[in-house]
Structure formats: structure tokens, C-alpha cells
Symmetry: C5
Subunit: 336 residues, 5 copies
Amino acid sequence: MPRPGESPRASLIGHDGLVKAYLIALDGSEVDASQEAAVRLFNEGKLLWLDLFDPDDETLARLSGFLGIHPLATKDAQQFGQRPKIEDYDGFTQIVAYGVQSITEPLVEVHCFYSQHYLVTVRKSDCAAFADVRELLTRHVIKHPSRLMLLHRLLGELTDGFFPVLSDFDERIDTTQDAILAKPTDQQLADLFQMKRWLIMVRKVVTPQRDMIASLVSGVTELPGMTREIERYFRDLYDHLIRISDLVDSYRDLLSGALDSYLSVVSNRLNQVTKQLTIIATIFLPLSFLTGFFGQNFGWMVHRLTSLPVFLVLGIGTELAAVTGLLLLFRRRGWF
Amino acid sequence: MPRPGESPRASLIGHDGLVKAYLIALDGSEVDASQEAAVRLFNEGKLLWLDLFDPDDETLARLSGFLGIHPLATKDAQQFGQRPKIEDYDGFTQIVAYGVQSITEPLVEVHCFYSQHYLVTVRKSDCAAFADVRELLTRHVIKHPSRLMLLHRLLGELTDGFFPVLSDFDERIDTTQDAILAKPTDQQLADLFQMKRWLIMVRKVVTPQRDMIASLVSGVTELPGMTREIERYFRDLYDHLIRISDLVDSYRDLLSGALDSYLSVVSNRLNQVTKQLTIIATIFLPLSFLTGFFGQNFGWMVHRLTSLPVFLVLGIGTELAAVTGLLLLFRRRGWF
Amino acid sequence: MPRPGESPRASLIGHDGLVKAYLIALDGSEVDASQEAAVRLFNEGKLLWLDLFDPDDETLARLSGFLGIHPLATKDAQQFGQRPKIEDYDGFTQIVAYGVQSITEPLVEVHCFYSQHYLVTVRKSDCAAFADVRELLTRHVIKHPSRLMLLHRLLGELTDGFFPVLSDFDERIDTTQDAILAKPTDQQLADLFQMKRWLIMVRKVVTPQRDMIASLVSGVTELPGMTREIERYFRDLYDHLIRISDLVDSYRDLLSGALDSYLSVVSNRLNQVTKQLTIIATIFLPLSFLTGFFGQNFGWMVHRLTSLPVFLVLGIGTELAAVTGLLLLFRRRGWF
Amino acid sequence: MPRPGESPRASLIGHDGLVKAYLIALDGSEVDASQEAAVRLFNEGKLLWLDLFDPDDETLARLSGFLGIHPLATKDAQQFGQRPKIEDYDGFTQIVAYGVQSITEPLVEVHCFYSQHYLVTVRKSDCAAFADVRELLTRHVIKHPSRLMLLHRLLGELTDGFFPVLSDFDERIDTTQDAILAKPTDQQLADLFQMKRWLIMVRKVVTPQRDMIASLVSGVTELPGMTREIERYFRDLYDHLIRISDLVDSYRDLLSGALDSYLSVVSNRLNQVTKQLTIIATIFLPLSFLTGFFGQNFGWMVHRLTSLPVFLVLGIGTELAAVTGLLLLFRRRGWF
Amino acid sequence: MPRPGESPRASLIGHDGLVKAYLIALDGSEVDASQEAAVRLFNEGKLLWLDLFDPDDETLARLSGFLGIHPLATKDAQQFGQRPKIEDYDGFTQIVAYGVQSITEPLVEVHCFYSQHYLVTVRKSDCAAFADVRELLTRHVIKHPSRLMLLHRLLGELTDGFFPVLSDFDERIDTTQDAILAKPTDQQLADLFQMKRWLIMVRKVVTPQRDMIASLVSGVTELPGMTREIERYFRDLYDHLIRISDLVDSYRDLLSGALDSYLSVVSNRLNQVTKQLTIIATIFLPLSFLTGFFGQNFGWMVHRLTSLPVFLVLGIGTELAAVTGLLLLFRRRGWF
């Protein structure tokens, strides 16, 4: 790495006091993230991790200049919306990775600049993984970590954060499917569509994130400081990403299954409702015809409908006969 | 393999008497699975197979330390929920494989640690394959087996266990499909969704399990003790896994076909029901209109509806004419 | 190939006279398939082809021992249900291939053991391909064939047997599709499901069969006796298998198209039926209301409905006006 | 190429005057396609192109013998129904390619035998590409072409012939889609199915045709006479085939989209029709009930329905109230 | 590159004053695009960029001759409708790329001819990317650019132009999906079909455009003037194209999800409408039957329906009982 100039410029971080940053020294202790502290640590070779939260473009540009980060990589960190990728530059490696907070929040994009002399991370939203790793460091659970193991830990926490969220998602598919079978509503369709959208978004970052780690593990991309032992840990991380990627594919299948069953349930319900309508109409339309028939004002007929037996046979009997016949017909069709 | 220290610690297995384990010596005989026995066998180089059933984390950790198993591999065996994989470590190989008991039970995850000095398996649920292999050993059907052939046998039994379960699954698809054609219900949809879920789960383990054995057969991963003859047996195992994987793909197709036909059957039924409704309405609505017409209280009309011929022509005749016309219409449309 | 022992054991084939077998000498003549004949031919180096029909396990095991066939290969031939594959052993090659008889019969699995000294085939059901090849040999259409060319011929006949059956299948798809367009029934759905199942089964064997021949043609697997000229014939066979595989994929597409159109046709019919119902109801419900209205027993109204003009205007006129209005409405909607 | 015997046999082409053939000399001039002419041109090394139209098997066999074409290649040309392929033989190359005439006609299969000494084409149906190339030759637009450039031209014309036909197909999809949106009929379903079938057929030849040219361009298969300049022309041809293949894939997508929208349109229509039915029934069934109520023969009631106010309130008022209430209900549901 | 002849012919560009062209010198300044200027700049080695807008075939041919562009490449630029591709010729490289203006306009095809001595672009429609790059050049934002960096800039602007348009598309999918859930219409189906068509078109150019840049980045195709630093910029461009390609795939998924939910929404609506119809019919058909019954002219019955209690019990009571019973039934079925 071309070591940047010796004279650190003023106001490196948070020139107007607005940039939130965490600064960790090589021994794991957290240092107040002022510009001087970062410069001093870097110059002494003791800079472990500088974590920038939503820095303004100017700060980022100055910092990049100071640390020798390529303008293209800096531009990515300013624009965000990148795919997970690992890009080898002279003197440092750019890594873009994603984490997740919950089903309802957008994914957390993290830009890492890793070199033998520092690990810088840039992000625009909060993610539990960061606080967790920071805590592990300050509680000295991880003792004297190398910058590469720290990078692994961070990527690992980001990745493992997907498991509980996907587990929630899994449950939500099941809940929705059960709800559909119980009573299909338009709201469920909107939910399914939204879930599909979320899953597509997750898939769009998980697949390249997996491939990025694969390129590390297979040795296509090399990181300084990588040993066989550390590679094993990255291999483990790779394994987790494959599992996540498999999960996402499964949910995709289940979601489309849920949509299909929605249609089927609705059709089946429609069938039952229509069958009831048909039964009602099949019973009462003939009966109404009969009553209508004897309600006609044909003099000849009216004069012959006066006695009780006639009423019992024609008024009651025909109706009963019709109903009986129809019920027999329905039973033969297996409708009851 | 770095041979672990000479002084075996106390209470290696089942320190509180709760860990179930099976211990098999190199000559195939089953030894009471106490800690001393395992240590003694291992030190004498006579440890063939140690099968741990749901060990607590501490026991597993101590055992791993004793046998020189890497913490990452131990952590996997403590957490479970891994993908089938084969991972080469110094001195031992970690293999994660899956078996199946029945359609209704979850899959059986098995972690194997194989080295030239031992075969250790860890699992959390029971699976017929284990008892079968143990019986073969103690009945001396397999005489003086090498640890690798034992591993093959175990993986083979786990794998072949899928065939009868998948055969049940096949039959269940057919039964469901027949039931759908006979009478579609919501319950069938729930069944199909559950079957899909099960199949996705099986697929998620069968594909990597197949690829894992493929990497063994193709020589990408090497196991100590592998000979050309033993490789042939693994190739046979690979073949079985391809068949299982093909079966799973077929069932996936058939399941989606069953779901599609559900919708079609329901629609067809709806069609028939609606057609009947239409026929009934088409016959009786006009007839009711006619009876209603002659039931009106128009004096002029009522005075002219008094004679028998009028009744026969207008009261009976028009109705018969209407029915006849409609029946002719229906016949022309091929509805009878 | 390690030549097996000199002392042929008794009752090699059909030890109890039940095993059906065909024995062909190197000059193409058919020899009575007794055990002595087979042994004599083999020892004289004149054994061309031994075709076993559903042998019992014992016969097969003894034969394998005699010919030096590996137990794994023998086990496959005893169990059947294998995938098409080619497996290279010391001294012989195991080939599993499939043929077809008709759409309604199960596929014909054939196990071939090919070496420079013999071609042995094992099968459990009959297939025209075998009789055809035998006839070609005995009629000396194929003169002094090499064992490899015989193997090619056999695989070729098995493969080409798929063409007429798939052609029948093609026609059956068309017939079903036409029948669906004419009048959709539940039976067609059952047919489509069964056809799908058959196609999946065929696909499961055709793809690996194609790949198996591909491995022969590309030189991944080598057969003794292969020359550039014979390879050309296998390349031709490979070509046929690709065509079959393409056909199967096409039919898969067409079948799913047929299922989709089933649903569409049914829905369209339902639409028409419902439209008719709607027309009927839209015409007669208003008319019935009108007749009902004038059938009410309001004294004031009844007293004013006595004259002919009133009857013509209110009794006939309103009804005609209603019908006319509705017909105009329907025409404007394009329902006639 | 092994030059065939010097003594040309009699009746090479059209031994009974029935075989239609075109014979082009090296200078581009068309020669009367008699047997003597072909033999003479070939012996003089001036045979550019021999185009055979549906030759009988015997003629083809004799010709093949004369030109040194392998029996396997000849058999393919006799049977037809081959996949597009390029096959390298000693002394010549066999190329099977397809052209198209229109959506309603079957594809045109062309077998080419190319060597440094001739280009022979065999086909069984007519295709504009042939006449076009012949005209270009005789009009000397292509001057002194090499046999390879001629082959390229021919394949190019066959390939480019797909563009206008696919463009027609594209338009037909649009027309059908528009027609479906206007008014779905069963005929459209039959059309879509037929179009799908056609597309599958085209796809089955375009993909291997593309791969065949790819193997030429990538140098996997070599043709004698190929130069870097000519290769550029084949690369252009390859490009066209990729575009055709892309188009076919797009149409596949659009066709399935059209089928899906068919179902959706039909369902939507059904919805509207059913809604109208429901409106009619919801209005007139209550009204009919009311008229029926006051048409009952309860003496007590009839005696109280005599005055005008009663008629206005109960006879007209209740009906108006019911209609008003229902209209308000419909408006609130947004049905108007 | 074979330097063309020294004597520039007359009327190189716009021989009749109709061809619109932009001519940029090496220092970034825009020069009046006359033929003399272009020739002079080229001869002086100061030609940076010549941008031709819809040139006629003759102009293009003359220009190609002058600059040494191969006829095949010229023909492509005359015909248009090419796939994105990069083709290496002697002395220059042909690049076909696509840009986009809006969802409603066709894609913008751009043909670039790049060499160490010039960059020529040909296009037939306008695209903001061109004006943007020109402005950057003339405003000297890009100072002394190399021709390769200019090519990168141009391809980058064309590519980045997809982002806002796809973002519009994304929003349109959401809008349509919301509209479908609110009220499905035929128009939405037409929209979805059109959107699908647009997406297929975009996909057809984005995928090869991405692969084209991939071949540049991976070094399969080499451009003169490429340095490691510039390659980094092309890698960035490649990244953008992957993102676009991923987006297109996502939208494809979402579109098909929208179509599926259309069908589901329609079916659900149908269900509700039919349920209402059934409720109405189930309530009023029995009631009408009752009123019809007591409207019959059976003398015996009529004589017994005279008193008030009879009216209350039979006339009102039975009706109320029927309504109450039906309402209870509906409540038990959960229809209210």
C-alpha cells in the first residue's frame, strides 16, 4: 500500500461534529472517534477498525485520500445500492456485503475497506451485528484479533443475522397458508406479493454475497493475512451463505405454492356456494311453478279446486312429491 | 493426526450417566460405552466406532479435545441444522449426512468424524440405519471391517432408507390425485402444501449429499484408506443418491401437476353445477312467468279464461310448448 | 480379464430348467442354451452373446463367478431398478440401458456385461428389440459381427424402439387436446396426469442413457474393441438419443399446455353457461315481477283493471316494452 | 478425399428421369443436370454444387458411392428427420440444416455434403433460399465463389428465412392477444396450442443449428478451405442464429403470457356477467316477494287492501322503498 | 490499422447536407461536422469522436472505406437490429450497445467503431447519453480524454440510463398491482402483457451487453489502449450491467406474480358476488314460495284463510320463521 502523506489534515472525521463513528484500537479498546485519534492510531499502526455511520461525501472523500482508497471504491460507498462484491485494488480490498434487521426494514448495506493496516466500514443504517461485534471486542471475548478475523466476524454476524429473520419469514408463510385455507381474502394476496418482493430483494444480495465468499475460499480472490486456519472460518461462513441461499429458494417455491393454493381454495369455495345456490333454486323454482299454476285465474280450473281432497292431492301432494323427487336426485348425486 | 495427550480425563462419556452411546471395538464386538472403555480402545488402536446419541455440549467438547477434533467441526455437531458436507481437517474428516425415518418425522442429521483411528458419529434422533449396521457388526455379517467400509455402510444405510419412504410418498401422491379426481376438498390442498414442504426439505439435503459423495468418487476430496475397490462401493452409493435426487425431482413435478389438476377438477365441477342451475332456471323461469301471467287480475282477461278448452290451450298448452321448445334447445346444444 | 477357472461347474444356466436363455455363437448361429454349451463356447472363445431372461439370483451369481463379473454389478442385475449407466470394471464393462414396448407397459431394463470374450444381457421382461437382433444374426444379415457391433446394434434397437412409441404419445396428446377443446371431462385430467407420469419415467431413463453414450463417444469411457469406424456408429446412436430427449422435453411442454388449455376451456364454457343463465334471469325476473304486480289483490287496482284497453296496455304492453328494452340492452353489449 | 473410381457408372442422376436436380459449375453457370454432366464436371474438378430434390434411395446410394460419402451419412439423407448437426467424415463433412417457408408449412430439412471437390445438397421440399442462391450465382452477383462461401451463403439464406416468418409469428401473437382481450373464444385456445407446437418445433432445430455454427466458429469442427475472412462470415451467421434463438425464447414467454391472460380475461368476464345476474336477482327477487305477498288469498288482508291510499303505500310505496334501498346499497359497494 | 489513402474524397459526411453528425477533436472541442473537418482531424491524428445520426447507406459506406472499416461491420450499422456484441476486426473493434429513453420508446441501438485513431458512433434515434457526454467534453469536465475512456463513458451513460427507466418500471408494477387489488380490469391485463413484452425486449439486449463487457473485463476480448486502471472502470460498468440484469429478472418475477394475483383477485370477487347472489336467492325463493302457496285458488284453502289470526300465523309467521331460520343458518356458516 502506498503510505499516504505524513501530514494529516484537520477535521478528518466529523468535520462539523455530525458524523457518527466508532474507532477501535488494535488491542480491542474503543477510542473516542475524533479525527486526531484515528490519524494517530493509523500512523502508529494501531488502527484496528474504523466504523463510519452515514458519513457525508466530503468526509468520506478526505478519508479515502488519507488512507489511499481508490476514487471508484469511494464513489460506490457514497452512492450505495451496490451488489455484494469483492474488488481487489492496490493496497486495499473493497468488500460490499449486506445484513438484515427485520422483514419490514430495508436491507443493511455495508462497505468494507480492508487492508493490512486498517478495516474501515461504511454504512447508512443501523444493524445489530455491529454493536454485537463491538461489544465482543470491548469485552475482550475476542482477544488481540487480526484485522482479517475481525472482518470475518463482521461478515459472519451480518450473514447469521439472516437466519432468525428467515425463520420469521418461514413462519409467516405458514401462517398465511393456514389463513388462506381458513378464509381467503384480498389482503393475503397483497401480503404474498409483498413477501415475494422482499424475497426477491434478499435473493438479489444473498446469491452474490455467497459467490463473493466462494471466490475468497477457492482462492480466486486473495486477502492479505489469510492463513489456512482463517480460511477454514471463511469456509464455514460460505456454508452458512449456501444454507441461506437454499432457504430463500425454498421459500420462493412455498410462496408460489401458497398463491396457487389461494386460487384453488377460492375456486373450491365458489364451487360450494354455487352448489348451494343450485340446490335452493332446484328445489324452489319447481315448487313456485306449482303454486303459480294453481294461482291462475282459469275459471274452469278454479271451479274444480274447491274440495279438501283436491287441495290435499294437488295443493300439498304435488309439492311433497316434487320435493321428495329432488331430494332423491341430490342424494344419488352425492350432494348430501 | 496429532495424537492427543496420554492422560485421559475422567468421565469422558456420559459424565452424569445421561449420554447414550454405543461403542464398537475393531473386531466388531459391542463394548459397554463407559468412558474408560472408549479411552482404552482408542489408546490400544482398537476403537472402531463410537456412536453418540444426543450428547451434551460439554461431553462433546471434551471428547473433541481428546480426539483432536477441530472446534469448528465440534461447534457444527453442537448446533446441528447443517447442510450435508464433507470437510477435510488435519487428522480427521468431518462428514454431515442425513437419513429419514418416515414422511411425518423430521430428517435425521448425522455428524461423522472419520479418521484412520476412529469413526465417531453424533446424532440427536433415532434412525433404523444405526441399529441395522450395529446388528450386522455384532452378528459378524461384516467381518473385520475397515473404518472406511463401516462409514460407507452407514452412509449407504442412511441413503437407502430414503427409498421406502419416497415410495410411500409416491403412493401418497397417487392417492391424493385420485381423491382429487373423486372429490376435491380443502384438506387435500393442505396435504399437497405439506407434501411440497417435505419434498423441499428432502431436496435441500439430498442434492448436497449427492454432491458430497460425488466429490469423494471424483477424487476431489480424499479419505485415508480409500482403495480402488472401496471407491467402487462409494460409486454405487453415489448412484443411489442420483436416483433419489431424480425421484425427488419427479415428485416435485407430479405434485405441481396434482395442484393444477385440483384447480381443473374444481372448475369442471363448478361448470356442471352451474349448467344444472342454468337448466333449472331456463325451464322454470319462463313457466313461472306464464302461470304468473294468467294469475293477473285483469277483468277482461279473467272473464275470457272460463271454459275448459281455454284452460287446456292456454293453461296447459303454452306450458307444454315452452318445455318442449326448451328441451329441443338443450338437446341441440348437447346438454343431455 | 482374469480368465476364470477351467473346471466349469454343473448346471450353469437353468439349473432347474426354468431359466429362459438364448445363446449365440460367434458365427451368429443360435445354440441350444444349455449350461454345457455356454461353457464350451466360452472356453473355445466362441461365445458371442448370452441373453438371460429373468434368471434367478443363484444362477446369476454362479454365472457371474464363472465369467469374472464383480459382485456389485451382479447385485445390480439381481435388484434391477437401476439408472442407465456405464461402469468400467476390471475385465468387463457393465452397461444398464432401457427400452420401451408401449405406452401402457413399463420400460424394459436391460443389464449388459460386455467384455472382449462375451456379451451377456440380463432382462426381466420381453422387448421386440431382442428378437429383432437375434433374427438379424441368424438370418446372417449381420455377418461375423464383433461383440461391440452387436452391443451397438442392441442398444440401437432398444433406443430406436422409443421413436414409434413417442410418436403414438404425440398423437395421443393431440387427440386429448382436441377432445378437451370439444368437451372437457374429468377423465381427460386423469389421462393427462398419467401421461405426465409416463413421460417423467421415460425422461428419467433417457437423459442418463444419452449421457452414457456421450461418455462413450467423447472417450471418457472406453470400450475394448472400439475403432474410429465403430465410434461413428455410436455417435449416430448418440444423435438418436438426443432427438428422443428433445422429443420428451417437447411433450412435457405440450402436456402442460394441454392442462392449461383444459382450465381455459372449462372457464370459457362456464362463462357461456353463466351468460345464458344471466340472460334468462334478466328477461324473466322483470316479467314475473310485472305479472306478480297485476296479480295483487289491491281492491282499488283490481277495479281499474277491467277493460280491454287496460289489459292491452298494462297486461301486454308493459311486458313487451320490458322485453324490447332488454333485447336492445343485450344487443348493445354484443351478447347476440 | 479418396478419389472414387475412374469409370463413372451409367444413370447417375435421375436414372428414370424422375429425380429433379440442379447442377452448377465452378464458374457459376447452371448445367443441365444429367448424369454425364455431373460426372464430367466432377472429374474435371469443376463441380461446384449439385442440388438434389427428393432423390430416390437408389440414386442417392449410387451417388454416394461415386462421391465417396459414408453409408451412415447417406442413410441420414434417405431417412430425414435428423437434428441439425455437423459431422466430420474422411474426405467430406455432413451438415444437416433447416430452413422455413411459412408458419403453416413444415420446416425444410437440408442435408449438405461438403468437400473440397463438391457441395451436394439433398432436400425433400422446396425453399425460397435455394432459388435465391441459384439466381445470385447465375446472375453472377457472386463471382467465382469458393464451395465454402457457397455453403455459407446457403446456410445464411436458410437462416435468414426465419426472420420474416418469425416476424409474422410475432404479429400473430399480438393479434391473438388483442382478440383475446376483445372476446375470448375456444378457437383462440386451439390457435395458441398450435402456435406453441410450431414454436417448439422451430426451437428444436434452431438451438442445435446455432450450436453447430458455434462449433464451426470456435474451431471445434474444421472445414477445409476455411480462412479467417470466411470465418468472419460464419461468425455473422452465428450471430443471426443467436438472435433467432432469442426471438423463439421471447415468443415462448409471450405465448404463455397470452394463455395466462386468456384465463384472466375469461374470469373477469365471468365476474361481470355474474355481477349483473346478482344485481338483477337482488332487485327483482325482493320485489317479486312483495307482489306475491299482496297476491295471497288471506281474506282479512284482502278486505283491507281496497282503498287507493293503501294501494299507493303498500302496492307502490314498498316496492319503491325496496328499489331505492337496493340502489343505495349497490352504490355504496361501488357497483355502478 | 491499414491507413487509408491520402486523397480524401469529396462530400464525406452529409454529401447532401442531410446527415446530422457531431465531430469532436482530441482536445475535447466540438468542430463543425463538415467532411473536410473530419478528414483533416483524422489525418492529423486529432480525431477523437465522430457521432453520426442516422446516416444514409452511401455516406456510411464511403466513410467505412475511408476509415478502413470492414464491410460486414458496415452492413450491420446499415441494417441495425443487431444484438449487443463486440467483434474484433483488423485495425478496429465493432461494438454494438443499447441505451434506453423511456418505457414507451423503443431502445436506442448504438454502433461504435473504436480504434486507436478514432471513435465513430452510429445511431438512428436520439438518446440523452450522447448529449450528456458531449456536454461533459465541451465543458472540459473530462480533460484530454483517451478514446477508450470516452468509449467507457459513453457505454457507461447508455447503461446507467437504464436505472431511472427501470425504477419507473418498478413503480408501474406496484401501481398496477395495487390497482388490481383495488379493482381488476381488462386494461390491466393489456398493460401487463405490454410490460412483459417491454421487459423481454430489454432482457434480450441487457444480457448480451453484460456478457460483452464481461469478455472485455476478463480479457477474452482486448481493446488497444486498455490499462489496468481503465479496466477497473470497465469492471465498474460490468457491475452496473449485472445489477440491471438482476433487476430485469426480478421484474419478470414480479410481473408474473401480478398476473397470478389478478386471477386470484378476480376469483375472489366472483366468490363474493356469487355468495351474495346465493344469500339473496336462499332468502327470497322460499319466501316467494310461501306467498305463492297462499295465493293458490284452492277453494277449501281460501275459505279457511279469512280470519286475522290465520293471517298473522300463516301469512306473517311462516315468513318470519323462514327468514329467522335462514339467518341462523348463515350465521353458523360464518357468512355474516
